[in-house]
C-alpha cells in the first residue's frame, strides 16, 4: 500500500473546508454547499472503496501509515481493523446527510456551519484511524471545538449554557486521560498503541490508568451520572448538530472503550466490570423512566440515546462474542436510527418552530409520508425485529445473559420501557386529534428530506434482515479482542497464584 488512503480520507473534508473558507468572498452559499457535498460524497466513496479492499480475514491492523511527527516523541500512525472501518463508514455516511439536512434549515452563516461540520468530520475520522495515543487524544479532544461552536453559534435560546456545560463535562474527563497518556509514555517509552498492546502494561498500573481513560469515555458515552450534558446539548443544537452528536460523537467513546480500555488494560477492565454493569443498568432504567416523562421530543430522544448507549457499554464488558458484536452493532444501529429521529424532529421544527410534544397531534392526516417514516424509526428505536435496533439489543442481552442473569434481566426491562416512551410519544405526535391550527397547514416532506430519510430507513431495514456484511467485517477483530482478554485473564490467574 503506497497510496496513503487513510490520510486522504481524514484530510479530504479539511481540504474542503479550507476551499470553502478561501472561496467565500461574496457570502455566496451555493459554492459552499457544492464544495461540501462534493467532498463529503467523495469521502463516502473512498470509504466504500476502503471497505471493498479491506481484508476481513486478517487479524491486526491494515492500511498502516507511519510518519514521524515530532521526531523521537510522537509518531503519526494510522491504521484500521474490522471494528474501526465500520465507524469510518458510518461517519462518512452520516456527514453528507447532515450537510443535506442543514441546507434549508440553517439560516445564518451557512458557509461557516459547513466548515465546522467538515472539520468535525476530519477529527472524528482521525479518532477512528489513529493508532497512537497522542494522535488519538488530539483528534478526540479537537472534536469538541467544532461541536462547541455548532451549539454555541447556531443553537437555540439557551445555547451558551448548553455549550459550556458540554465543554466543561467533556473536558473534565479528558484532563485525566491526558495525564494517563503522559504516564504511559514515561513508563512504557512509547505511545504507539500496537507497541503497548504487545508490551503489556504492568497490572498494578492498569487500575488507575483504566479509571483515567474511563472518566473521559464515560462522559462522552455518556454514562449515568455524567449524562446530563447530553439532553441540554441536543435540545439547543441545530438539527445537523444533534445528528452528528448522536450518530457519531457518542460512538467515539464506545470505540475508545473497545480499542483502548479493553486492549491496553484487560485486567483492569475485568476488575471494573461490575462498576460498568451497575452504571449501565442504572442508565438503562433511570433514563428510560426520565424519557417517559419528557415533553420535548429532542430531550426524549436524547434520554433514549443514553439508555441505548447503556446497552453498548453493557455489551462491551461482557467479553464474549455476542456481547461485543452486539454492542458494535448497536452503535451502528443507533447511529442510523437516532440520526433519523433527530432529522424527523428537525423536519417538524423547521415547519412549526416547536419541538414540544403537546404542539402536535394527528399529523398523520396532513403529513402521511412523514408519519410513516417517523413510525418506522420509532419502531427501530424500540428494537423491533427486522430493524437493526433489534439485532444489537438482542445480541447484547444474549451476551450479558451468559455472564450474569440478573444484569441481563434488568437490562431487558429497559426494552419494555423503551416501547412505552417511544410509542407514547408517537401516539401524542402522530396520532390523535389535531388541536393546533398550525398543523393543518403543514406541508408533507419534500423530495430532499424524503430521500434522506428513506435512505436511512432502507439501511436500517436491510441490515435488520441481513446483518451479515457488518457482522462479517467485525468478526475477526472481535475474536482478537476476546482472545487477548482470555490470554490476559490466564496471566492474571498465574499472577495471583
Amino acid at each position: 500500500m503506497n497510496f496513503p488512503i487513510l490520510s486522504t480520507i481524514i484530510f479530504l473534508p479539511f481540504l474542503g473546508a479550507a476551499f470553502i473558507f478561501l472561496s467565500n468572498q461574496k457570502n455566496e452559499n451555493k459554492s459552499a454547499i457544492y464544495i461540501s457535498l462534493f467532498t463529503s460524497f467523495a469521502n463516502l466513496f473512498l470509504t466504500f472503496f476502503l471497505w471493498y479492499s479491506f481484508d476481513k480475514s486478517l487479524t491486526g491492523f491494515q492500511f498502516i501509515e507511519e510518519k514521524n511527527w515530532i521526531s523521537g516523541l510522537i509518531k503519526f500512525k494510522l491504521g484500521i481493523d474490522g471494528i474501526s472501518i465500520l465507524f469510518i463508514i458510518l461517519t462518512a455516511f452520516i456527514t453528507p446527510i447532515c450537510i443535506i439536512s442543514c441546507i434549508n434549515s440553517v439560516k445564518k452563516r451557512l458557509d461557516e456551519f459547513l466548515i465546522a461540520i467538515l472539520i468535525l468530520e476530519t477529527f472524528i475520522l482521525g479518532v477512528f484511524c489513529s493508532l497512537d495515543l497522542i494522535i488519538f487524544y488530539l483528534f478526540f479532544e479537537a472534536g469538541l471545538i467544532p461541536m462547541f461552536l455548532i451549539i454555541g453559534i447556531w443553537g437555540g435560546p439557551r445555547k451558551i449554557y448548553s455549550a459550556y456545560k458540554f465543554f466543561l463535562f467533556t473536558l473534565l474527563g479528558s484532563v485525566l486521560m491526558l495525564a494517563a497518556i503522559i504516564f504511559i509514555y514515561w513508563s512504557m517509552g512509547t505511545t504507539d498503541y500496537t507497541e503497548i498492546y504487545k508490551l503489556k502494561i504492568p497490572q498494578n498500573y492498569q487500575y488507575l490508568l483504566w479509571l483515567a481513560f474511563f472518566s473521559s469515555f464515560a462522559v462522552k458515552t455518556p454514562m449515568w451520572p455524567v449524562h446530563t450534558w447530553l439532553p441540554d446539548a441536543h435540545v439547543e443544537a441545530p438539527t445537523a448538530g444533534s445528528v452528528i452528536l448522536a450518530a457519531i460523537l457518542l460512538k467515539m467513546a464506545g470505540y475508545g472503550f473497545l480499542r483502548f480500555s479493553l486492549g491496553m488494560f484487560p485486567i483492569a477492565s475485568e476488575y471494573f466490570t461490575p462498576l460498568i454493569f451497575t452504571l449501565s443498568i442504572i442508565a438503562i432504567i433511570y433514563t428510560s423512566l426520565v424519557a417517559l416523562m419528557q415533553e420535548d421530543m429532542k430531550k426524549l430522544i436524547a434520554y433514549s440515546s443514553v439508555a441505548h448507549m447503556g446497552f453498548v457499554t453493557l455489551g462491551i464488558f461482557t467479553f464474549n462474542k455476542q456481547g461485543i458484536e452486539g454492542s458494535i452493532f448497536q452503535m451502528i444501529s443507533h447511529g442510523i436510527i437516532s440520526a433519523a429521529l433527530f432529522l424527523c424532529v428537525g423536519v417538524l421544527y423547521d415547519r412549526t418552530s416547536s419541538r414540544m410534544i403537546k404542539t402536535f397531534g394527528g399529523i398523520v392526516n396532513y403529513l402521511p409520508n412523514f408519519s410513516l417514516i417517523f413510525i418506522i424509526f420509532v419502531l427501530g428505536a424500540l428494537g423491533l425485529p427486522g430493524t437493526t435496533g433489534f439485532i444489537g439489543e438482542f445480541l447484547v442481552l444474549l451476551g450479558a445473559f451468559k455472564i450474569n442473569y440478573l444484569v441481563a434481566i434488568l437490562a431487558s426491562t429497559g426494552v419494555v420501557l423503551c416501547a412505552a416512551y417511544m410509542l407514547w410519544m408517537a401516539k401524542r405526535v402522530v396520532f390523535g386529534k389535531t388541536n393546533n391550527s398550525i398543523i393543518s397547514k403543514l406541508k408533507d416532506i419534500n423530495y430532499l428530506e424524503g430521500s434522506v430519510l428513506i435512505l436511512l430507513c432502507l439501511v436500517s431495514l436491510v441490515f435488520g434482515f441481513y446483518p451479515e456484511p457488518l457482522l462479517n467485517t467485525m468478526d475477526v477483530s472481535v475474536n482478537g479482542i476476546i482472545e487477548n482478554h482470555q490470554n490476559e485473564s490466564v496471566v492474571n490467574l498465574i499472577y495471583k497464584n
Binding site: K165, L398, A420
Partner: protein
C-alpha cells in the same frame, strides 16, 4: 410453493400500501387475490403433507451469525405448521373479502388492507419458523400489526390508548419469551428447534442458580416461554389488552384477536412440547393459568354489554381451555380446539360486525333486540356460531371442547380433575353468556333510539359470503377432522408433538360424555327465560349482589390494580428522576455547582486585587510572617 405462501401476502401488503394511486378497488382486489392464492396453496401443502408425507425445511437465507449463534430465515413445513398455515391463510382470506364490505365507508381502505396482509405475513413467519429467533420476529411482527390495526381509527383517543396498551402488555410477555430464549441459548448453545428438542432429555437434571435459588433449567425455560405465551394469548395477568383491543375495526378482531394472533401462545406451547413434557411444574402452571383464565373471562363476559367485548372475553376464556389442554399434556386437542375455534370465533366476530354494521356502529347489546326478521342471514349465522361455541352436540366446538374435558379427567392427576370440573362449569357459563348475547341482540323488544328498526339492514353479499364459508367450517370442521387430529391411532402428528406418556381417549365414563351436552342444552331455555321473558329475576339477583356485580363489571378491577401498582408509580418515578435526580442533584452538584463555586471564589478573589499598594503590602506581610513561622517551627 412454500415460498409463495409466505411471500404473497407480503407482496400484497407492499403493493397495496404504495399503490394508492392505482385506486382503492385495485388495492382491495389485489390484496384479496394474493391472500386467497396463498390460502389455496396452503390447502395443497396440507394435502401433500397428509397424503405424501411431503414435509421439509426450506432455507431462505442466513440471518445472524455471531460466534456460536447461527440463525437462519427458513420455512419449516411439518404437520403442526401446515395446519397453522391453513388456518391463518384461509381465515385471513375470508376476512380480507369481508373487509371490502365492512370498510366500504372508510377513506383509508388501502392502508387497512395493507396492514391485514402484513399481519398475515408476520403470522406465517411465526408459524413456519425453524428457530426461536425467527419465531420472535413473527411474534413481535404480529404485535406490531395488532398495534397498527387496533389504532387504525387514530382519531379516537381510546383506540390509540388501546393500541399502546396492547403493544406494551405484549412487550412484557415478549420480555419473558426473550429471557426464555436466552436461557435456551445458554443451555443448548443453539436456537434451532430440532437441535434443541433432540438434546432436551440430556439436560433434565441441569440446574441454574437464579436469584439465590437453584432451579431446574428446563422448568425455568418453560416458565419464561409461557410468560411470552400469556402475553400474546391474553392469559390471566396479561389479558388486560385484549378487551380494549376491540377498539379496532371488527375484521381485525376476527382475524387477529380471535382466530390467529392470540393463538400464537398456544402454538408456542405446542411447538415446544418436547421441552414442556420434561417439566411437570411448568405443565401444571400452564394448566392452572389456563383454568383461571377460562373461568375469569367467562365470569366477566356474563355482565358485559358491549357485543365485541363479550366475544373478546369469550376468546380469552376459550384460549384458557386450550392452555389447560396443553397443560395436562393434550397438545393435539389444544391444536384441535385452536382449529375449530378459529372458525366459529371468526364467524361470531364477523357476524357481530355484520350486526354492528346494520345498526350503524352500535355495539351495546342493550340497545339492540328484536331485529331477527330484518337481518335473518346474520341471525342464522350467529346462531350457528353460538351453537358451535357452546359445544352443542355434533358441531365443531362439541368435539374439541369435550375432548379437552375428557382428557383432563382421564389424566387422573388432581390438576386434571380440577381442570375437568372447572371445564364443565365454564362450559355452562359459556352457554349462558353466549345465549344472552344472542337473545339480547336478535330477540325481545327493539331498544335502539337513535335509528329506527326500518333503517336496519342486512349486510351486502360480500360480507355474508365469507360468513357462510366460516359457518360451514364451524358446523363440519369438528366432525371431519376429529379422527385425524384426535383419533386413537392417528399418526398424523409425527415428530411435531412429543408425548412422554400418551393417553388414549377411551374408557370414558358415560356420565362424563353426557354431562356437558346436557348442561349446555339446558342453558338455552334458561337464558331465554332470564334474558327475554322475565328480566325481574335477574334484576333482583343483581340488586342483592351489588358488590359481586361491580366486581364482574369492572373485570375484577385488574386494570385499576395495574394502574395503581405499575403505571402511576412509574410515571412518578420518572418525574422524580428527571427533576430531583438530574436537575436537582447531578446538575446542582455537578456543572452548575462547580461553576457557582468558581464564581463565588473568583468574586472573593477579586477583592484582593484592589489596586492599592498597602493592600498588597499587607498580604505580603502576612505571607512572609506565615513562612517564617513555618520555618521556625521546623
Amino acid at each position: 410453493m412454500e415460498y409463495a405462501v409466505i411471500f404473497l401476502p407480503l407482496l400484497g401488503s407492499v403493493v397495496t400500501y404504495f399503490g394508492k394511486k392505482l385506486g382503492t378497488l385495485f388495492s382491495q382486489i389485489f390484496s384479496c387475490l394474493m391472500v386467497s392464492i396463498a390460502a389455496i396453496m396452503s390447502f395443497i401443502i396440507f394435502y401433500n403433507g397428509l397424503i405424501y408425507d411431503n414435509y421439509g425445511n426450506y432455507l431462505i437465507f442466513e440471518w445472524i451469525q455471531s460466534g456460536n449463534l447461527k440463525v437462519n430465515w427458513s420455512i419449516k413445513i411439518d404437520p403442526l405448521s401446515s395446519i397453522m398455515i391453513m388456518v391463518v391463510t384461509s381465515v385471513s382470506a375470508l376476512v380480507h373479502i369481508y373487509s371490502i364490505g365492512y370498510m366500504s365507508h372508510d377513506p383509508h381502505k388501502p392502508r387497512f388492507m395493507s396492514y391485514l396482509s402484513l399481519f398475515t405475513f408476520s403470522m406465517l413467519c411465526l408459524v413456519v419458523s425453524d428457530n426461536f429467533l425467527q419465531l420472535f420476529f413473527g411474534w413481535e411482527g404480529v404485535g406490531l400489526c395488532s398495534y397498527l390495526l387496533i389504532g387504525f381509527w387514530f382519531k379516537r383517543e381510546t383506540a390509540n390508548n388501546a393500541a399502546i396498551k396492547a403493544f406494551i402488555v405484549n412487550r412484557v410477555g415478549d420480555f419473558g419469551l426473550a429471557i426464555g430464549i436466552f436461557i435456551i441459548f445458554l443451555i443448548f448453545g443453539t436456537l434451532n428447534f430440532e437441535e434443541i428438542f433432540a438434546e432436551v432429555s440430556n439436560f433434565t437434571k441441569t440446574n441454574l442458580s437464579f436469584f439465590g435459588g437453584e432451579y431446574n433449567a428446563i422448568t425455568l425455560i418453560c416458565v419464561f416461554l409461557f410468560i411470552g405465551a400469556m402475553g400474546k394469548s391474553a392469559q390471566f395477568f396479561l389479558h388486560t389488552w385484549l378487551p380494549d383491543a376491540m377498539e379496532g375495526p371488527t375484521p381485525v378482531s376476527a382475524l387477529i384477536h380471535a382466530a390467529t394472533m392470540v393463538t400464537a401462545g398456544v402454538f408456542l406451547v405446542v411447538r415446544c412440547s418436547p421441552i414442556f413434557e420434561y417439566s411437570q411444574v411448568a405443565m401444571n402452571l400452564v394448566a392452572i393459568i389456563g383454568m383461571i383464565t377460562a373461568l375469569f373471562a367467562a365470569s366477566v363476559a356474563l355482565v358485559q354489554n358491549d357485543i365485541k367485548k363479550i366475544i373478546a372475553y369469550s376468546t380469552c376464556s376459550q384460549l384458557g381451555y386450550m392452555f389447560f389442554a396443553a397443560g395436562v399434556g393434550a397438545y393435539h386437542i389444544a391444536m384441535f380446539h385452536l382449529f375449530t375455534h378459529a372458525f366459529f370465533k371468526a364467524l361470531l366476530f364477523l357476524g357481530a360486525g355484520s350486526v354492528i354494521h346494520s345498526f350503524k356502529e352500535e355495539q351495546d347489546i342493550t340497545k339492540m333486540g328484536g331485529v331477527w326478521k330484518k337481518i335473518p342471514y346474520t341471525m342464522v349465522l350467529m346462531l350457528i356460531g353460538t351453537l358451535a361455541l357452546t359445544g352443542f352436540p355434533f358441531l365443531s366446538g362439541f368435539y374439541s371442547k369435550d375432548a379437552i374435558i375428557e382428557f383432563a379427567y382421564l389424566k387422573g392427576t388432581s390438576v386434571g380433575y380440577y381442570a375437568s370440573a372447572l371445564g364443565i362449569f365454564t362450559a355452562f357459563l359459556t352457554a349462558i353468556y353466549s345465549w344472552r348475547l344472542f337473545f339480547k341482540t336478535f330477540f325481545g323488544s327493539y331498544n335502539n333510539k337513535s335509528i329506527s328498526i326500518e333503517k336496519t339492514h342486512e349486510s351486502p353479499l360480500v360480507m355474508i359470503a365469507p360468513l357462510i364459508v366460516l359457518a360451514i367450517g364451524a358446523i363440519f370442521a369438528g366432525y371431519f377432522f376429529k379422527d385425524l387430529f384426535l383419533g386413537n391411532d392417528t399418526t398424523y402428528w409425527g415428530d411435531s408433538i412429543l408425548f412422554l406418556n400418551y393417553i388414549k381417549l377411551e374408557n370414558i365414563p358415560l356420565w362424563l360424555i353426557l354431562i356437558t351436552p346436557i348442561i349446555i342444552t339446558i342453558a338455552i331455555p334458561i337464558s331465554y327465560y332470564l334474558f327475554i321473558k322475565d328480566k325481574t329475576i335477574l334484576n333482583g339477583v343483581k340488586n342483592s349482589n351489588i358488590p359481586l356485580y361491580n366486581f364482574l363489571v369492572n373485570k375484577w378491577y385488574i386494570d385499576e390494580i395495574y394502574d395503581f401498582i405499575f403505571i402511576n408509580p412509574l410515571k412518578r418515578i420518572g418525574i422524580f428522576f428527571w427533576k430531583k435526580g438530574d436537575q436537582d442533584t447531578i446538575d446542582r452538584f455537578g456543572p452548575d455547582g462547580i461553576s457557582k463555586v468558581i464564581k463565588y471564589v473568583s468574586n472573593k478573589a477579586i477583592k484582593f486585587q484592589s489596586g492599592y499598594i498597602y493592600d498588597y503590602a499587607f498580604v505580603m506581610l502576612i505571607g512572609l510572617s506565615a513562612l517564617i513561622t513555618f520555618l521556625i517551627l521546623n
